[in-house]
Subunit: 709 residues, 2 copies
């Protein structure tokens, strides 16, 4: 059921786990430019191990020829005995034999592709960066008992001709929907937000060619303030197509060329990660369907080498942004390699010298991402491989607690939380403690998986202590909420939505607290509003978790529908309905600083799958799961939710529910005016017009009921 | 007085300190081959930081043009404001301004060369691998208070055209002294051990050309067992010179070519690090002069990108071997960059996951190397830059102590000590504790230099506790020696030379203990003999430190003279006079496994300078120093010892001593039958026919005395 654990019989390129991801992330994250100037990240970029030992023991049924493909300088050993030179093919004798390759590669990640009949390279090989295989004066080898071996890293590099270093996303030619020609200028519109390599067709002559990119028409025309641009100096006697080497995000492209230059047209190579949509959602409300589709497109544009924040500006892997992409992914693609690639790129290497992306909350989201990854996929292997990197990151956090045991921003820590006017980051912010508590719970779970009993106890105790202290310190009876922060160890007067909404879907509140928080915070207009889709994600999730789907549907239509009404073809980094015209495009003090295609804008994918179709795992990898469809005002809805156990299809109208089950055991829970009926169903009443129906492995369910609106 | 602290007015390439060394060491240490097969190290190779921020504040007298040369993708900021694109030249305005460059480079070390009239790149720039320079929603920049800046690394890359990545040693063509032609074969003799690129002259035809290298004639002829070889398959219609791309060590080269191939001759490009001999030694004994010269040549051959162990086989940076090279260096080259390059390559990066070269003793030699480096050079800057790496390595050691507080080999630790038959590595070996104690003393010194008062106290306490425990646990009154080890917490019966001889020149013994150890261990033939020049180094040092120069001179003539009598043109990895003929060449179970040119073979350079000319620093950087010439049976000797304060020349016969002083304050100490006399000298009698004469800064001393033979 878990793809990563499947026996692999085919050969694939392998490497030291995490190293391809670190190397690729370096490449990817150093592609940001600001008006043609290089704009790299401000956190530490790690590097791969340059010298790796790979080995595996095989039971070879009959002598076989084995081909070797290697990225780097290498040697080969069979049963510890060197094969001379740099062999491209070796003979593996029949019987039990150990094949080892040792590879040095400075500029790329050391990697191997081994292909025989039974002897193949895959993630069952073991690797290390220090084999400690010395020999003594007499030629006797060391026992290597002090060597740490990990399972090899791999992905989908299944051909010897495409090693990891040659990785490139797929491309597809696209033409603009509209071209406006001017004197020495061409303004093209690709009809919607897109990403890729711009191609100047039939370029000829001598002179400068300026290219100004715009996510909006206004931006492409704003040659002095648009965020990205290119400048070519050409000298082409004959007509020639020129493809710009660095990808860009745009809908509009404004090409301006000097008098000596001519140009036939502009097209592009759309660049994308080839992935399959397994999740889907349609319903009776066309606006919601449109929101879903634009979310999907927004999400695809930001699902690349890694889950990135937005395609125009940063193009970086931000942990807080990636965390939301992980969740959306579980309801659309269920592409686990994209999750693990991103987690590994974010984590980088030891030693830990700062928070992930330098942001305290982003470190915690990394832990939360692992928590969810395990819940949704059931993949223990990833946790087994990377538990030490989880430990060292948590050690870093624990060493930075203040005297009260709370996390408080120290020099060099960015306490982000959200983009929100005047939001205080001073002192120990309740939101951060909540995230730390959940991170510690994650550590306890993972310690259990790797059988670190001592760690499990330690982390569980730390988590429960912190949860207790969180409430004894931050909960205000008078405000019926967790206050925003402690400054000088004392509660501030400030109440914000953050800790309170997370407390709800973390299930940290008592039922009474939850209901108070709903009124005193979530539905309270006096509490500072959230303007980023980033935090809207959690706000709406909290409301959904409390059964407020109808309210959330309206909010969704207002908020995402609001962007659509302004002509959005992908969802934005931030949206404030109070703004007008080009004001919408400004951010960071720059007129077009805002990203109009931001992964965190795609959260309806998650909300509609998890809280309307109502599907979620109850135990790791969907061995058990629940379906709680809630129409929230819709007449009907239909869709699929992917899982390692298959795709679960749900149809739900006010009278009928149909579910095609998956390999795990499910529980359907619905509210109905009358007892639901259906052939062969065992319906259990839970009282208060709520019913529970068991869904057996692979079982299809169809029932009639009467929805409570 | 300290070269590293000199104000630099010329531009030079700079990088993140330690990163060039790590990158270059990867290159160098992956050049080992065994009979044509790649043979990489078995310990972790680190990697450089790929993204570096460089900056410096300048007081620019008048607006100036500044040229920029960069290894990698970069941006430039003046006072935090980006300069557009990838400028190759910028205008620095007059006044106080901060120039920053941020560079990403994956395959090489990010490096910059900045050259204006006053604005130049040098080691006074500051660098970091995480600048934490984020901006908030409004465009406001972070305060960067959490950023750690280090002084930039640099060496001698003073031309924009030769960036660090293009580093190559110097070469010089050399011809063989003898060529023997056979049918399809050519055996050439270069007259002595050498290193470089073999050049096949006038190669023509089609077929295979085998090249077998030999440090001995026997090895070059042993085509089945020689350690290094090359195989070319050529197809050259016309005559062509072909240079082999990988350097080799050899004296003899045996070329065998197929019938279709012809060859005019063999020559070579000798490859070397251009350094100047500042130290010298000549004396009345021609054999000692020969030993000194061959030591010098041996040392030069092994002084390359780094101080390596030997040129034929490993070509690796081994900490124990390098430590001795450091000491020899202080008496021959005084080339500090070679010391710091080697220290940095050995140390690599955090986290520490094993001992240096995986060997426990080699970790300690690294600390000892720093101790001596500071004493000889007085360079505090190096310690300030790398104190954190010293701390993390010491933390690693301290965490590996056993219940008794002693270092004992754990899984994966190689307890080396020496190549010696049957030498026990079990339990807690006294030798390792001694080295740890000295390492802790080094840490205390360095903590003082960086003003880490708490660390200074901690390390000093740990050191004195350990020294006390060392004697209370390992000292045997009956054996009058430190025993070799504790097994199960109890003294073993075994006494070896190692801890006892180090105890002497570490000055860890009482005077009584010292005298007992001299008789019961050093001069006791029943104690297992030392057969490697490696440990002979320390054995002879201990004897010299006890005034046994005459005895040591004989030993030197026997041991090093013994190798010369066997025709050695460089000194060996190991020498056992009991062996005969080709037996001398065997080691590690291979007939030509032994290196015939090993850095540790060159120790007479150190012994003659420190214990015969008798020159050593008393305080860091030779601010004060002592000269205690001891003829040890020689009629006369003459030589120089380099120091940061100038080269100190010493002439000493049985009747006369002449010293040309250096910038520091020296003390000449001699034994004389009568009170020494000389113009303007203040001679202080210390009793027991010992006299002390002060040498003022820059003062030349000449005196008559009467040596006690």
């Amino acid at each position: 059921m878990i793809p990563e654990l499947k026996a692999q019989s085919k050969a694939t390129w392998i490497w030291y786990p995490g190293d391809f991801e670190v190397w690729m992330a370096n490449k990817m994250q150093n592609r940001r430019t600001e008006r043609g100037t290089f704009f790299p990240p401000f956190w530490r970029m790690d590097n791969h191990f340059v010298l790796i030992d790979f080995h595996k023991e095989f039971n070879v049924p009959a002598e076989e020829q084995v081909q070797l493909f290697v990225e780097g300088q290498y040697n080969v050993k069979i049963d510890g005995k060197m094969v001379s030179g740099y062999p491209k093919q070796i003979t593996m004798p029949a019987g039990k034999h150990k094949l080892s390759l040792k590879v040095f590669c400075q500029d790329r990640v050391p990697a191997i592709f081994v292909k025989g009949k039974t002897v193949v390279s895959d993630s069952s090989w073991l690797v290390t960066y220090e084999d400690k295989e010395w020999i003594d004066e007499t030629g006797k080898a060391s026992d290597q008992s002090g060597t740490t071996w990990l399972s090899a890293g791999s992905w989908n590099f299944d051909s010897p001709a495409t090693p990891p270093s040659k990785f490139a996303l797929a491309t597809e030619p696209k033409n603009p929907v509209k071209t406006e020609k001017g004197a020495g200028s061409l303004l093209v519109d690709f009809g919607r937000e897109t990403f890729g390599f711009v191609k100047l067709q039939g370029l000829q002559g001598k002179g400068k060619v300026h290219i100004y990119y715009g996510e909006s028409r206004e931006e492409a025309l704003a040659t002095e303030t648009c965020e990205t641009l290119d400048l070519l100096e050409i000298d082409e006697p004959g007509k020639k197509d020129t493809t710009i080497s660095l990808t860009k995000a745009f809908r509009f492209v404004n090409v301006r060329y000097e008098a000596g230059v001519s140009l036939d047209g502009v097209s592009m190579l759309y660049e994308y990660l080839p992935v399959t949509d397994r999740g889907s959602f349609t319903c009776s409300d066309p606006e919601i369907n449109k929101i879903y589709d634009v979310s999907k497109y927004t999400f695809h544009l930001n699902t690349r080498e890694f889950f990135i924040d937005g395609i125009k500006r940063d193009r970086w892997i931000w942990s807080g942004d990636a965390y939301q992409s992980f969740l959306m992914n579980y309801y659309l693609l269920f592409d686990s390699p994209s999750v693990t690639r991103t987690l590994l790129a974010l984590r980088g290497k030891d030693p830990v010298t700062s928070h992930i992306n330098t942001i305290m909350d982003y470190t915690f989201y990394w832990f939360l991402g692992i928590n969810d990854y395990y819940l949704y996929t059931g993949d223990k292997k990833f946790i087994q491989q990377f538990y030490p990197r989880m430990q060292s990151l948590m050690d870093y956090c624990l060493a930075r607690r203040n005297a009260q045991g709370f996390m408080e921003g120290l020099a060099g820590d960015w306490v982000f939380i959200d983009w929100a006017d005047g939001l205080s980051k001073q002192g120990a912010v309740s939101f951060e403690q909540l995230l730390l508590a959940r991170s510690l719970e994650t550590m306890a779970t993972c310690a259990g998986i790797v059988n670190d009993k001592e760690g499990q106890k330690k982390y569980a105790n730390l988590a429960s202590d912190l949860r207790q202290k969180l409430f004894s310190t931050y909960w205000s009876e008078s405000k019926e909420a967790l206050v925003h922060s402690l400054v000088g160890g004392k509660q501030t007067e400030n109440v914000t939505r953050y800790a309170n909404m997370f407390g709800i879907f973390f299930n940290y509140f008592t039922e009474t607290q939850k209901q108070s928080v709903k009124q005193s915070v979530l539905l309270n207009d006096k509490i500072q509003k959230i303007t980023t889709p980033y935090m809207r994600f959690y706000e709406l999730e909290a409301l959904c978790a409390m059964g407020e789907q109808e309210h959330v549907l309206k909010e969704m239509k207002d908020y995402w529908g609001g962007m659509l009404k302004l002509g959005a073809t992908s969802f934005w980094e931030e949206y404030n309905p109070a703004k007008k015209g080009v004001e919408h495009y400004a951010m960071y003090g720059r007129p077009f600083g805002k990203s109009l295609c931001h992964a965190w804008g795609a959260s309806p994918l998650y909300l509609l799958g998890k809280y309307y179709l109502g599907v979620k795992p109850l135990s790791p990898g969907y061995h058990t799961y629940s379906v709680e469809p809630v129409l929230g005002g819709l007449k009907w809805m239909e869709g699929s939710v992917p899982s390692p156990a298959g795709d679960l299809n749900v149809y739900c109208s006010e009278k009928e529910i149909r579910i095609s089950g998956i390999a795990g055991a499910g529980i359907l829970k619905i509210r109905s005016k009358s007892k639901p009926t259906g052939a062969g169903l065992q319906v259990k009443s839970l009282g208060n017009k709520t019913y529970e129906i068991h869904i057996g492995a692979g079982q299809n369910i169809a029932l009639r009921y009467s929805a409570i609106k």
